[in-house]
Symmetry: C2
Subunit: 200 residues, 2 copies
């Protein structure tokens, strides 16, 4: 960041800019993410924006940091103490849906569209690692060990499946549908309790 906001007024301005940036990213995607649009949305002049953010990417980073922190905290809470599988799945799904309901497509834009190769590489990788790690511990907890089952691979498949469902629902504005929530819980429970093997 180029300059630290010292007065309350400027802190509010910076906050408004970051919030506007998240909004624009979510609605228009990385391709529509222009600094002028962000400034306009924030009700702030373009000069003001550049007073605090040296360039477009640093603004992106601010949004990324804020959003990832939020999602991680949600996930952490859902797997806090020992609970039965179904309870865990329900809380996880509820949390993920809540986290994505604010800016429905922001998460996907940050992961897929926006450039991640910058000074933020460490932060980005760290987020991914933490993210996967939560899933891995959940898998280790709820899935009975069986030969040939690579915990990390299972965690990766599970997390990307959940992300796919959430993100697809976000695109259609279907995050609130209770049927979605129920089926996603079903999917998680079915996969982790490993019942597909019947038909083998």
């Amino acid at each position: 960041m180029r300059k630290q906001p010292r007065q309350a007024r400027s802190r509010a301005t910076v906050e408004a800019i970051i919030e506007a940036a998240a909004h624009v990213l979510s609605r228009l995607g990385w391709a529509g993410f222009t600094t002028n649009k962000v400034a306009e949305t924030a009700g702030v002049s373009i000069g003001t924006l550049y007073q605090y953010f040296p360039d477009k990417l640093s603004l992106l980073e601010a949004v990324r940091r804020r959003h990832f922190d939020h999602v991680l905290s949600v996930i952490r809470d859902s797997a806090e103490d020992q609970k039965p599988l179904r309870k865990f799945a329900q809380e996880l799904v509820r949390g993920m849906i809540a986290a994505h309901s604010i800016h429905p497509t922001l998460h996907q834009v940050l992961l897929d569209e926006a450039p991640g190769d910058r000074g933020s590489r460490a932060a980005h990788a760290s987020f991914q690692a933490q993210y996967l790690n939560h899933y891995a511990t959940a898998v280790a907890t709820y899935r009975k060990p069986r030969k040939g089952a690579d915990t990390e691979a299972v965690a990766r498949v599970l997390s990307s499946a959940i992300e796919g469902v959430i993100h697809n629902a976000a695109r259609r504005n279907m995050l609130a549908a209770p049927e979605l929530q129920k089926q996603l819980v079903e999917l998680i429970c079915a996969y982790l309790s490993g019942a597909g093997r019947i038909g083998r």
Copy 2:
């Protein structure tokens, strides 16, 4: 399309342009998809490109049409005649992985990044409908009917979960990993045979 190619030379040119467009889209995403870049990649002048495609979006549409046709045919084949659940899942996964191995991130870019709201709306919706429909018939075939299970919702969750896994793997260049293939088959079988209900 602006002009129909009549001679063999121009047909090859158009083909090269579409192929280059798919390549650029897959590698650089929608944000990096510039007409100049496509022309350069195709080894063709920018004027030539605009001789056949009236604007950037029509070029995008050509790519979309070609790719979606391909994916649909793959899915159609995998669910051709009656087979046990596991066999169906294996063929579906194999086909999806094969379809995404050519331009690993193209499908995701087409669905998520590139604008879909244009004259192509009908084509796009039609693809989505057909796509979902294949999953819905599979769900109806392999999932035992139970009260409160909305076939369409299940199909939507299943398809977006599979897409999520495939796209995530494509992003990391992990499509070829056999562990992924195996786990994805597990996921599908587990969900469709509905074993998560044990813990309820």
